[in-house]
């Protein structure tokens, strides 16, 4: 008998326009000790399925049809009280963000012990003992001390361990993990996934692992179910699905996953996913405004052998704790003697885990932070000591694309105003008519269409917003583009489109790019040379192929090793795109 059986499940969210189906006719089953991956992009309904199993759909969503059977007993349609008996005791749940899934005002002890007392009917002393056992089982050192602490005293990875300990507290038969490692660094991700895997295998617990990340699927799951638009399009053993996907959606999804083993010229077209792909308008750059240089700029013939940007011995520290006396203050060294240079037309990658100081460098170059010491030399000029007035023309040449497309656009301005603002500010156009022509061309150029100009940011999806950010960055005719994690907030198919767009732009406009990411496969696809950063310092600099084939520094080696192994992914349709 299967541990969990989901039969023809339908979930609806009533909307103003009538009932909206979020999940349609979904069926799957799970055995004891098995890990089933539920994969898909945002909006596919994968998290909804997880929530439906423990009856925690956020209202007004509801199960309209189908059955959920746990160990032979139907659990869909139980009363709230009966469902409470199942949650925690039979089904444990792990949420995505360990930073928000623990109550900040209670100690770990309170939160663990209340779970144990409720689900196992233990006394307080027995619960305490069991809590300590659980914490050591999930690998928290010194559990007797740590248990007295509050969530904010734990790091992200440690918190997720606590969440797992709580999920396991009631000795559940089934664990539902909803994106358990998405908010974590790659090295922590590896530890947490191993932990989940070991626990499932040793305790014979079944696990539904909901994720958007093919790497996680490949390394952790036994079987995988692929969801698209509320429907299950393919289910099978992980190996089989990844190596020889059958359904066209699975095929395009897999082809859009950035690969770490081979470098491609472009990501293959993922037509199945975005059906109404607007065609990108080509512009003859030599004739067009975009390709022109400003007066004065034309004379600076950039020497191909000389670096466009040189970062020399940059140091910056932030005060983390203020005190009256200098000796009591504490600092965080955000950049420690960082030096590198970027050649014209090249894409230079900065890679590292969170807190390694990659974004700090980007912000110093863009002039958003001021370094304590060191120089930024752009096109032969030291720029960080310039006055604000001199700096203006440099700012026009260096532009930035930010990570989160939801917060980097002003939601009260329409797209025309957003893109035209830098053109007007830097006086790059002669009259209003020219400005509006440029904006329409830019929107066409990034594949949104000129009609987008009158809309507001909330009318666009994440990927479209990132195109707007790129158009805004291009609006000053920059020579140097800083991309700070430009695709980490996006789905993989959208990521593939945005990365393709950036590559096209670079080819056509001869842009020089600084590309920052924590995602090694993305770096591999985008960059020519890479610097690996750790705790504010560069530990290794190498060409992209050298770094991925023979990393020298132990930290780089570790990062490369921790990268989810995707060598078995299907290569269908990629042969023409190999570099």
């Amino acid at each position: 008998m299967a541990l969990l059986e989901v039969k023809e499940l339908d979930i609806q969210f009533p909307t103003r326009f009538g009932p909206g189906h979020v999940v349609r006719q979904l069926s799957f089953s799970l055995e004891k000790g098995e890990i089933l991956g539920l994969v898909g992009e945002s909006g596919a309904g994968k998290s909804t399925v997880g929530n439906a199993v423990i009856d925690l759909l956020s209202p007004p969503g509801r199960v309209t049809q189908g059955e959920i059977i746990l160990n032979g007993e139907r659990i869909s349609g139980l009363s709230a009280k009966q469902m409470r008996e199942i949650r925690g005791r039979k089904i444990g749940f792990i949420f995505q963000d360990p930073m928000t899934s623990l109550n900040p005002l209670f100690t770990i002890e309170t939160q663990l012990i209340e779970t144990l007392m409720t689900n196992l009917d233990l006394s307080k002393e027995e619960s305490y003992k069991k809590a300590i056992e659980l914490l050591s089982a999930v690998g928290i050192p010194e559990p007797e001390i740590r248990i007295k602490q509050y969530p904010h005293q734990f790091s992200g990875g440690m918190r997720q361990r606590v969440v797992i300990a709580i999920a396991l507290a009631g000795d559940p038969e089934l664990i539902i993990a909803d994106e358990p490692t998405t908010a974590l660094d790659v090295s922590i991700q590896d530890q947490i996934l191993n932990l989940i895997r070991d626990l499932c295998k040793s305790k014979e617990v079944g696990c539904v692992l909901v994720t958007h990340d093919m790497g996680v699927i490949a390394n952790t799951t036994d079987r995988v179910a692929v969801m698209y638009n509320g429907e299950l399009v393919e289910i099978g053993s992980t190996q089989q699905v990844l190596e020889s996907p059958q359904h066209p959606y699975t095929k395009s999804l897999i082809s859009a996953v950035p690969r770490s083993d081979i470098k491609l010229k472009r990501f293959p077209h993922v037509d199945y996913i975005e059906k109404e792909q607007e065609s990108k308008k080509t512009i003859d750059v030599k004739q067009h405004w975009l390709g022109q240089r400003q007066l004065g700029e034309e004379t600076d013939v950039t020497n191909e052998k000389e670096a466009l940007l040189r970062v020399e011995a940059i140091n910056l520290r932030f005060e983390t704790q203020h005190a009256f006396f200098e000796k009591n203050r504490k600092y965080l060294q955000a950049s420690n003697n960082v030096s590198f240079s970027v050649m014209p037309g090249e894409t230079y990658g900065l890679v590292g885990e969170s807190g390694s100081g990659k974004s700090t460098i980007a912000r110093i170059i863009a002039g958003l932070y001021k370094q304590d010491s060191g120089q930024i030399i752009f096109d032969g000029q030291e720029i960080s000591s310039m006055s604000e007035g001199q700096r203006r023309s440099i700012r026009q040449q260096i532009q930035m694309v930010f990570q989160n497309p939801y917060s980097s656009l002003n939601s009260r301005m329409n797209i025309f105003d957003i893109i035209s603002e830098p053109i007007v500010f830097h006086r790059l156009a002669n009259d209003k008519k020219q400005v509006s022509n440029i904006v329409s061309d830019l929107l066409d150029y990034v594949g949104l269409g000129a009609a987008a100009a009158v809309k507001y940011p909330h009318e666009f999806s994440g990927g479209q917003r990132q195109r707007i950010s790129i158009a805004r960055a291009l609006a000053t005719r920059p020579r140097f583009l800083i991309c700070d994690e430009p695709t980490s907030a996006l789905d993989v198919s959208v990521q593939a489109q945005i990365l393709n767009l950036l590559k096209d732009l670079q080819d056509e406009l001869g842009l020089t790019m600084l590309f920052i990411s924590h995602d090694l496969p993305v770096i591999r696809q985008m960059c020519d040379r890479i610097a690996v950063m750790k705790q504010g310092s560069i530990v290794e600099e190498a060409s992209v192929d050298n770094l991925f084939t023979s990393p020298q520094n132990p930290y780089s080696q570790e990062l490369i090793n921790l990268m989810p192994n995707l060598d078995n992914l299907s290569r269908e349709g990629l042969d023409d795109l190999l570099v």
Partner: protein, 326 residues
């Protein structure tokens, strides 16, 4: 902790210095204290002599310097009307006001939390709409009208409760007399406390409701459900504690406000408190009393806010830690 209190004390002194400056600066515009102080029959020469004696003819800065020098020693001047130190006059009335505010605060706490939680948990229920509709009404009706209506129904028509004064009091320490220990005193407290609470209660219900709605959508509440906890534990332990953090901050300021603005309630109920006293002081152009009143109210604000910050630190572990680390 000690450093925090010291810092607060310093800030409090600055606040009170500014308040005293403003209060002192406007006193020339409040009218002529002599007109109230002496009878019609007093001649102009005698008035002038009295002005000299009171120091009212000195330049502003000299007067202010004298005031500051005395204020530092705890002497805020002598009330023209009571012929007693202004601070002492106010402090004897302070207990009456604080008892009124205390009662109103109790009403607010014991009504706003359950009602706020109820309306957050049942956002579309009929009762919720009733409570929220009524709360709009409560905000819109001025305090004195509420007070008069209460007096009309419960004191005049029904005759259940007394309509003015403090009733039978029991002396406590430092001249503090309380009405909380006798039945008669309690009966006298009911109507004034309700009318004082009436304007703040809707605000708190709405504040708790909106905070609670936000907290209920937090991930840790969903996780608490997934842990299999009971509904009551989730609502009243996990959610409520998080809800109360911002409420405490706002609440502290509002309680300070109540102390300062009991004037209307005290006037309607002839409550012998500070607000009532202040109103009288203004009509009598009793400037030392007015200045002293403003300073005392400023001090109440500073003390209440310090207490609020301390309580906040006790509830919120992140605040407590950063503070002890300082």
């Amino acid at each position: 902790m000690a450093l925090f209190l010291l810092k607060r004390l310093g800030q409090g002194l600055v606040v009170m210095f500014i308040i005293s400056t403003i209060a002192f600066a406007i006193q020339d515009n409040l009218g002529d204290p002599l007109r109230e102080l002496v009878g019609q029959a007093v001649s102009e020469q005698e008035r002038e002599k009295l002005r000299d004696e009171l120091g009212l003819n000195d330049p502003f800065l000299v007067q202010y310097g004298r005031f500051l020098k005395n204020a530092v020693q705890g002497d805020l001047g002598t009330s023209y009307f009571f012929k007693e130190p202004a601070l002492k006059v106010i402090l004897t009335k302070l207990s009456a006001t604080l008892e009124l505010v205390f009662g109103a605060t109790l009403i607010i706490i014991f009504l706003s939390i359950p009602l706020g939680v109820y309306t957050a948990v049942h956002p579309n229920g009929f009762t919720t709409k009733l409570i929220l509709g009524w709360s709009i009404l409560g905000i819109s009706i001025p305090v004195f009208l509420t007070a008069i209506l209460l007096v009309y129904f419960f004191a005049v028509t029904l005759g259940w409760l007394p309509s003015y004064g403090r009733g039978e009091l029991v002396p406590m320490f430092w001249g503090w007399e309380t009405g909380y220990l006798t039945l008669d005193g309690l009966a006298h407290l009911v109507l004034p406390c309700i009318s004082l609470a009436s304007i703040m209660l809707p605000l708190f219900i709405r504040l708790i409701r909106s905070e609670m709605v936000e907290v209920l959508s937090a991930e840790y509440i969903k996780f608490a459900h997934a842990k299999g906890l009971s509904r009551n534990r989730i609502l009243y332990i996990h959610a409520l504690k998080n809800t109360l953090l911002p409420v405490i901050t706002v609440g502290g300021v509002q309680i300070g406000n109540m102390v300062a603005y009991t004037i209307l309630t005290e006037t309607v109920f002839q409550w012998p408190g500070m607000g009532f006293l202040f109103l009288e002081a203004v009509t009598r152009v009793d400037t030392p009393l007015i200045v002293a009143f403003l300073i005392v109210v400023g001090a109440v604000f500073v003390v209440v806010n310090t207490l609020v910050d301390l309580i906040y630190g006790l509830i919120n572990p992140t605040v407590r830690l950063t503070r002890s680390a300082q």
